[in-house]
């Protein structure tokens, strides 16, 4: 049976995430964008919502079971407040989820609890690479097996909190397949570059990461000699980012609606003009329809549906276009005032453009 209502349990988590989004992330978002970071205690509060912890079974230090739907709902709710902040809070998901989904039993027991049971610490994935046509199916970073060790070489980009990260989950090609390695931050050959300067998500510190023949023991390979379903990991991150895109878009629309009713032109609110009203209606329609696409992709992931990978890809495609369209129109609704940094809409428009390059930064 079709169903379009979150469960009571999901609703409770969403309520908490919505409160955090409004009272913490939204309240601090603009200042954080200018300052280049969120205060650590604010990230900590988001971490205490327990979104990731609730996705991890007790055996590995968590208190729940992974549900991509629940994760997507929480990500969406948080991103309504601020995208950088949501990515900061959820950064450790990019490290934990691939291990949870594809790691060996030993790896799960050894690597997940230190992240889950502690305060927020930026264990993160190094996924994206600095090329215009970056494609996760053909990464340039490579791993080679040599005398019982693995040698990793390449360059990663958009690695959040790399300077503070205790360890990275580095994605590379190994024998033509996408794999992940656990790489401690003090591994020889690993170097963190300058902080990146980006168009948006200014409050999320990201870095380049260089790997120059980083030598790792065999047990660093997530999943070991066994199967590693990279497709599931990719779908998981596509759904997470797509959900954030929907949250970002909803936030922008919700911000534009009251302004359109308040701002007057020739004596009437601009919202009473069809040119503005239709724009807003179309924004709402795109958000609502693409939200369902994201939910369905998440649901397919949870069901183990063979179509989940394609669904997640399409959901991200739709959600990314929605984010760009909606945030652009939010600026348009404010006219010249939307271009001024006094309002957050210009920031959301910059963040919206970045959605397609963000897979790898968070997972559900």
């Amino acid at each position: 049976m079709y169903g379009f209502e979150p469960s009571d349990e999901q609703r409770m988590l969403m309520d908490a995430a919505e409160r955090y989004a409004a009272n913490q992330l939204r309240a601090a978002g603009r200042e954080a964008d200018e300052a280049g970071e969120f205060p650590q205690e604010l990230i900590e509060k988001g971490w205490e919502l327990g979104v990731l912890q609730a996705s991890v079974p007790e055996a590995y230090g968590g208190f729940g079971e992974r549900s991509a739907v629940t994760g997507a709902l929480a990500a969406e709710a948080m991103a309504w407040g601020d995208l950088s902040g949501t990515l900061a809070v959820m950064a450790p998901t990019s490290y934990v989820m691939p291990i949870l989904l594809g790691g060996t039993e030993e790896q799960k027991k050894a690597l997940i609890p230190p992240v889950i049971e502690a305060d927020w610490k930026p264990y993160v994935a190094a996924f994206v690479e600095p090329s215009f046509d970056f494609y996760e199916g053909e990464m340039q970073t490579t791993a080679q097996a040599k005398k019982g060790k693995y040698l990793l070489s390449g360059e990663k980009a958009y690695v959040p909190f790399a300077e503070q990260a205790p360890a990275f989950l580095v994605f590379t090609m190994l024998d033509g397949a996408l794999r992940a390695f656990n790489v401690p931050s003090d591994a020889p050959g690993l170097s963190v570059g300058e902080r990146e300067a980006l168009l948006g998500i200014h409050a999320l510190p990201t870095y380049r990461l260089k790997l120059d023949d980083v030598t790792l023991d065999e047990d660093a390979l997530i999943g070991g000699e066994g199967e590693f379903d990279a497709g599931e990991v990719i779908a998981s991150t596509q759904v997470a980012i797509a959900a954030m895109a929907i949250g970002l878009s909803t936030g922008a629309l919700d911000y534009a609606l009251p302004y359109a009713k308040e701002r007057e032109v020739w004596g009437v609110p601009i919202a009473q003009k069809q040119s503005i009203a239709f724009m807003l209606a179309e924004m709402a329609i795109e958000i609502e329809s693409n939200r369902l696409l994201v939910w369905e992709a998440a649901w397919k992931l949870d069901e183990g549906d063979p179509d989940a990978a394609r669904a997640a890809y399409l959901a991200l495609s739709g959600a990314a276009d929605t984010a760009m369209m909606v945030t652009d129109r939010a600026v348009q609704t404010f006219g010249g005032h939307g271009y001024v940094r006094e309002h957050p809409v210009e920031m959301w428009m910059r963040n919206g453009r970045g959605i397609p390059v963000m897979p790898g930064l968070a997972m559900v």
């Binding site: 049976m1 079709y2 169903g3 379009f4 209502e5 979150p6 469960s7 999901q10 739907v69 215009f132 046509d133 970056f134 494609y135 199916g137 990719i234 629309l253 609606l257 359109a260 009713k261 919202a271 009473q272 069809q274 009203a277 239709f278 807003l280 209606a281 179309e282 709402a284 329609i285 795109e286 609502e288 329809s289 693409n290 369902l292 696409l293 939910w295 369905e296 649901w299 397919k300 069901e303 990978a309 394609r310 890809y313 399409l314 495609s317 739709g318 276009d321 397609p356």
Partner: protein, 409 residues
């Protein structure tokens, strides 16, 4: 609970309708497009017989009978049926007997006695059509506020005068079968839309005649009739809703609830055409060695791949929104905004997909050798009937801005 699992009953309806669409519709699709105003009796008879055998499944009237049962999927099933039959042929889908928009109006606003009287006929031996007549020559989107057709009470009768146009299946309802048309008329021209009521006019009523059949861009298998009412007398009991103007606003709003069911239905139908087009497009490309690779970033996609991926996103997201609108209806929850949202987007999507498919297939797309050009023509009606894309945008905008129709028009 969030779930996208099609229930077994929906799956069954889908499979059954696919068989009908493939075997009863596609083979005659081109013929009835090229022979406008010919009536596809074989299809009509077949649908009537099979629907009767299934207890009237697939019609808008069915939800009334099932209203008291537990969790319902009637509206969802209607959407699935509309989508699949329109995948077969939308013009023929509009020729499906057994309860269309007129029946939906009776169902949404009629008393139990009226439902019995007017809807019972669909279970008879012969196929019966119904229709809804709202638009008049001087106004379409401004309806029903600007209805000029009048209903004047005379004892136990109403006397109707006026002209209706663009009545889908009007000829089939009044001339070809013993059906009925729901005519929107005003009982008090000074009261504006508050005075407007739907009335049931049955086939064979003196003073009610079909005066014209339109020649159209698409959906040619479906008749689009003009109806003239000249001192047309109907029983007093044929009014749907209250005969008092004072109670009218409520009665009027009840009547408008009809659209909450019919708009998602039109959206579903539109998406059937869109899916047919996208499937044929992919098939034709595949036969010519073009396969779509999923998962690539846009910088690595061909133009055709990007077009197809965009089409899949817009098609499927709109389908889910349509199902949500119907799910809300089944759950007896308000779905006005979702109904208009899915209608807006489905109208856009089917127009975009069919226009681009013809473009992408070049000389083949433009040729009448294939159905792509027909679907391009059929598609456009979905952005026009049951409220144009613009009217439905207005409805969505009013809802999200919390405006009345006086504040935003």
């Amino acid at each position: 609970m969030i779930s996208f699992k099609k229930s077994e009953k929906l799956e069954q309806a889908s499979v059954l309708m696919e068989t009908v669409a493939e075997n009863m519709m596609r083979p005659i699709s081109r013929y009835f497009d090229e022979h406008e105003h010919e009536i596809p009796w074989d299809y009509i008879q077949f649908m009537h017989t099979s629907q009767k055998a299934m207890g009237g499944a697939g019609s808008l009237t069915e939800s009334a009978a099932r209203k008291k049962e537990g969790p319902s999927i009637s509206f969802q099933r209607l959407a699935v049926t509309a989508e699949m039959l329109s995948w077969g042929d939308v013009g023929l889908w509009l020729c499906t007997p057994g309860g269309g928009l007129g029946a939906a109006a009776v169902n949404a606003t009629g008393s139990a006695e009226q439902k019995e009287r007017f809807l019972g006929r669909f279970q008879g031996d012969d196929p019966v059509f119904d229709a809804m007549a709202l638009t008049e020559p001087h106004a379409g989107s401004a309806m029903p506020a600007e209805v000029r057709t009048t209903a004047v009470r005379d004892g136990d009768e109403w006397v109707l005068n006026g002209e209706k146009i663009f009545v889908t299946a009007g000829h089939k309802a009044l001339v070809d079968t013993k059906g009925f048309v729901v005519i929107w008329a005003t009982i008090d021209p000074s009261a504006g839309r508050a005075g407007v009521r739907p009335f049931v006019v049955e086939a064979g009523t003196p003073g009610c005649s079909v005066t014209k059949l339109e020649h159209k861009l698409g959906i040619r298998a479906s008749d689009t009739a003009s109806i003239v009412l000249q001192d047309c007398r109907i029983p007093f009991e044929n009014i749907l809703g209250s005969p008092e103007v004072a109670k009218a606003e409520k009665g009027f709003k009840g009547a408008m609830a009809t659209f909450d069911a019919t708009r998602p239905l039109v959206a579903a139908s539109a998406l059937g055409i869109a899916r047919a087009t996208l499937e044929m497009l992919k098939e034709m490309l595949s036969e010519r060695g073009v396969e779509i690779r999923y998962g690539l970033p846009r910088s690595r996609m061909t133009n055709i791949e990007r077009e197809i991926v965009d089409m899949e996103v817009m098609l499927h997201s709109t389908w889910l929104l349509t199902m949500k609108a119907m799910w809300l209806a089944d759950e007896r929850k308000t779905n006005t905004i979702e109904a208009s949202m899915c209608k807006v987007k489905a109208g856009d999507v089917v127009v975009k997909i069919t226009q681009r498919a013809v473009e992408i297939m070049g000389p083949l797309g433009f040729s009448r050798e294939f159905l792509l050009e027909k679907w391009f023509r059929d598609a456009k009606i979905n952005d026009l009937y049951e409220g144009t894309g613009q009217i439905n945008r207005l409805i969505v905008a009013r809802r999200i801005l919390d405006y009345t129709r006086h504040e935003l028009n």
